[in-house]
Amino acid sequence: MTGPMVEARGVRKYYGSLQVLRGIDLDVAEGEVMCLVGPSGSGKSTFLRCINHLERLDGGTLRVRGRLVGFEERKGKLYEMREREIASQRLDIGMVFQRFNLFPHMTALQNVMEAPVQVRREKTAAARKRALDLLERVGLADKCGAYPGMLSGGQQQRVAIARALAMEPKLMLFDEPTSALDPELVGEVLDVMRQLAESGMTMVVVTHEMGFAREVGDSMVFMDQGVVVESGSPKDVLSNPQHARTQAFLSKVL
């Protein structure tokens, strides 16, 4: 692949008359870890959800691995994709949510196996073996039989990461993966994410963990009121912000 993993051009999104995204332009290269920061309500989650078409964008274009998200281009005209096509497009993209969203009626192992077996029609035995490997990778080999309700927040989030990885995505989206965690549990989740970054995964991470961003991130994008205000390497943005809005935001969170 030559082009960027994610290419956003003028992405706009409305909720009713409220314009939440006012033209987002950004590129995420393959293997890049991009940290998305900004004040509450600035549209970070909305943009992330547009990338795997959980939200439909209202303007601009968004491409993942060169393919338009949610639309098809034929003879210069745009056609909306069917649910099935959207579902298959999402296979390349894993997502981790702030509130984990594990399936509470399934064990950790079943959570991880669900998509490979149901979507990719993998054989149960093979899917099980891979799921066990993944749980081991996030340090939860001993918890494979546990239901989400019996796990701590940090453990749940690690299962959620394993569940997303089970589909062997090319791109991982994280929406404030540690914001719902008790402070002492944040580290174990960030450790897993750091390993993932080291393994070369392309990641877009909405986070308030500036330490993680500085250490693991390849780039940082500061968003406010639906636009990208400033972007650059995490060190530059964090220690030498150019815009008044970035300065004001960072002075509050750092």
Binding site: N101, E114, Q118, G149, M167
Partner: protein, 293 residues
Amino acid sequence: MTGNADIVAVPVRHYGRWVGAAVVIALLVVLVYGFSQGNIDYGTTWQYFTADTIVSGMWNTLLISLLAQALGVGLGVVAAVMRTSKNPVTSAVAWFYIWFFRGTPVLVQLLVWYNLSLVFPTIGLPGIASWDTNSLMTPFLAALLGLGINEGAYMAEIVRAGIGSVDHGQTEAAHALGLSPTKTMRRIVLPQAMRVIIPPTGNEFINMLKTSSLAYAVQFDELLLSAVGIYSSNLMVIELLFTVSLWYLVLTSVFSVGQYYLERRFSRGTSRATRSRGLLGQVAANLRLGRTR
């Protein structure tokens, strides 16, 4: 009562309650006395309690209630899922089904099914096959369709509430994993909605046990019709109506006990103990009576 209560005070005297209780007891005595002296032969009531016709009517009541409830659950799930569909036609059809079958009396619906031959003398695919509606629409089928399709409209609302109770994040997580909308509903949303759906479904079934008596109007051999058959020849009307009442009480009581445990289990919400059991395990545990906890 509490051994270490050290406040000594005269409690409030509830004279009104005493008077009320006395009046109620007096009325009860009059009522029981009246029925015991009335022109009723209780021996007959008891005698028919175990009569073959009545017992087989009871089994038919149980059978039609179970089948109609099952049909109702199936239709209810389909209608509820259709209601949530983005396709306006699909959702409108479901809306109409619910509106129509909840808005008309079930007795009328039963009679319409039973007399369907008046509308369509034959049923079938033109040129391929065709049946005589009158011989097709047996009392059993009319009862099943009448009760089951009506029940489906009520179940649809219950299932819809259940679906609505599942956190939207579950759907998003499933979609993000690439599960299709159908798979998301079947594998992720519905199993979780069961927690909300199952207790009221138990109530619906207990109601169905009694509502099924309306099927006597379409000549289905359930409990009430069995009694009618007997008393129209021996004229022991009230005696046999009491016999079937006893059977209905037995049926509703038995299933109410099951319902009690069902509700107690599910009202506990997603406690850790509940979640750690599979759905079938939960249901099985609910039905195991006398479990101490």
